[in-house]
């Protein structure tokens, strides 16, 4: 069991069942706790995406509004732009397809931060280095699930080799507020909320920018 969770070539990623998510942020809190992240460093974030309009029919006004959540960490992209742009080679791709910051190499220039559409690499001002989700490599090495996945009370998160996840859950990854998945090729698949909007037909906005 233990070795199969860091298997070379498995290209691990996340599954997010948006239809189950209540926006409680247990995943985010579990991540902070597990990695002892300093204040403001959020490897997993839960944006609240809201929007809508109303219809007027005579004297009747019918609202048509929506809100849904998106739990996002690093999506360990197929061809990660953070690793491409990193000048020091600190942004490292493991054999199992996950991406982590080699703390011995990072110079803290923050170029990876600019390049990532998911805000996955985050600057840790305590160390002067970048930091990011490594899909809980140490937990996986011991045969445990990543902290965020275990913490979700709705069981809205899953993880595994991306091919298996796509076979089980489909391959949707372009739900707003996430960007066009062809830019990033994320190892992520989403079961959309009933009101979910695709990235190219997005009409809403992130309602909790201060929380992400």
């Amino acid at each position: 069991m233990s070795t199969s969770m860091t298997e070379p070539g498995d290209k691990y990623g996340f599954f997010f069942d948006q239809s189950l998510c209540t926006g409680c942020k247990a995943c985010q809190v579990a991540c902070i706790d597990k990695h002892d992240a300093p204040l403001g460093v959020l490897w997993r974030r839960v944006p609240e995406y809201s929007g809508g309009s109303w219809q007027v029919d005579g004297k009747t006004v019918t609202p048509n509004i929506f809100t849904y959540y998106m739990s996002v960490a690093c999506n360990h992209c197929e061809d990660p732009v953070c690793a491409e742009v990193c000048p020091t080679t600190a942004m490292t791709i493991r054999d199992d397809g996950t991406v982590f910051v080699d703390q011995d190499k990072c110079v803290g220039c923050r170029y990876c931060e600019w390049s990532c559409a998911y805000s996955a690499p985050q600057f840790n001002s305590d160390t002067g280095h970048m930091s990011k989700c490594d899909l809980c490599y140490d937990y996986r090495s011991e045969g445990l699930d990543p902290a965020c996945v275990s913490a979700c009370p709705s069981r809205a998160l899953d993880w595994g080799p991306i091919d298996e996840l796509r076979a089980t859950y489909g391959s949707e990854a372009g739900i707003a507020p996430l960007p066009d998945p062809s830019i990033t090729e994320p190892h992520l698949t989403i079961r959309p909320h009933r009101d979910a909007q695709s990235w190219d037909h997005a009409t809403g906005h992130i309602a909790n920018p201060g929380e992400i």
Partner: protein, 339 residues
């Protein structure tokens, strides 16, 4: 505006000014060489050449201020295979080394003409590669609509030409004024150390002192004729580039305004008061260069160069502030798609 961004504003502008000055000076040299004597060419070109080094060093030092852990600074060369940032740093340092080597060879008049020209050509090529890599750092980020556009390389090259032309022109004028100040430089050296003494005494300090005197020798009338003609050309080139910057800035904001939600956020930042000041200052630069400097260059005599020098200096300062605001906006307009 924060320290991280400010250090990069200073680095990009200083490196672009250095590369622009070096290449423009190269063109000036090639043109002068056909019309003036080697001594005249050297005397006109030298002051500007030696002003480039400090500018580039200021830029490189400023760039160090934006790293989080300077202990790992030597790792930044490791990813030249895919990272434009690694390439930029390599080209930047290579340009500085080649330029410094050329300046040393020129100062001590070491090496054949062919060797010196080869080193200068190498530095110029490295400078162009530096500009290219610098632009690609931003242009290559697909997640940032405000950067993933031809406007970024255009603006970087425009800054290099505008600031380069102004720096070369200002250095030539400041040198002319300083040389005209009788004979303070020699008096400093004291009565025991005349020109011939230093040469005879040999040694490094002697060589440096005699080269200083050579550069500080009063500008001759024929050198002044070359200087003012060069200045008129620099003013024209600078004015055209300043106008182009204004036109492209408006096209840029217009393009972003028609893009997606993220591009609109960038457009909003680029439509504020800071942009108006940027356009105003760049417009003032164009007017001063195209009218004041261009005309003064034709009418100013060698005996009274101060008005032209002062105009040049003021124009350069206005352009620098304009470029500083413009480059700050470049970083402030960074909004990414996604979250």
């Amino acid at each position: 505006m924060n320290i991280h961004d400010t250090s990069m504003v200073i680095f990009t502008l200083a490196s672009q000014m250095a590369v622009g000055s070096f290449i423009i000076l190269g063109v000036v040299y090639l043109v002068l060489r056909r019309r003036a004597t080697p001594e005249e060419t050297d005397h006109v070109v030298a002051p500007a050449l030696y002003a480039i080094g400090p500018v580039m060093i200021i830029g490189l030092l400023a760039s160090i201020a934006h790293v989080g852990d300077v202990r790992n600074i030597f790792n930044v060369f490791l990813n030249a295979e895919t990272s434009w940032l690694s390439r930029e740093i390599i080209f930047g340092i290579a340009f500085a080394i080649a330029g410094f080597a050329f300046a040393l060879l020129e100062w001590f008049k070491k090496g054949s003409l062919v060797l010196r020209q080869a080193v200068a050509a190498l530095a110029a090529v490295l400078g162009i590669l530096l500009l290219w890599a610098e632009a690609m750092i931003y242009y290559s980020l697909e997640a940032v609509p405000a950067w993933n556009t031809w406007v970024v390389p255009f603006m970087f090259v425009a800054s290099a030409i505008l600031l380069g032309a102004l720096a070369v022109g200002t250095a030539m004028m400041v040198a002319t004024v300083v040389r005209g100040r009788e004979p303070a430089a020699d008096a400093d050296a004291g009565p025991a150390s005349t020109d011939s003494d230093s040469k005879e005494s040999g040694g490094l300090m002697g060589q440096i002192r005699s080269r200083f005197r050579e550069i500080n020798a009063p500008t001759t009338e024929s050198e002044w004729q070359f200087t003012t003609r060069i200045l008129a050309w620099l003013a024209l080139v600078g004015a055209v580039v300043a106008v182009a910057i204004i036109i492209v800035s408006t096209i840029y904001v217009g393009d972003l305004s028609q893009g997606g939600a993220i591009a609109l956020e960038s457009a909003a930042v680029l439509s504020g008061a800071k942009m108006w000041w940027r356009l105003l200052l760049t417009g003032a630069t164009a007017i001063l260069l195209g009218f004041a400097v261009y005309r003064l260059a034709a009418s100013t005599r060698l005996s009274a160069p101060r008005m032209l020098a002062a105009t040049m200096l003021v124009t350069m300062l206005l352009a620098l502030v304009g470029e500083f605001l413009g480059r700050s906006l470049h970083y402030e307009a960074m909004f990414r798609v996604g979250i």
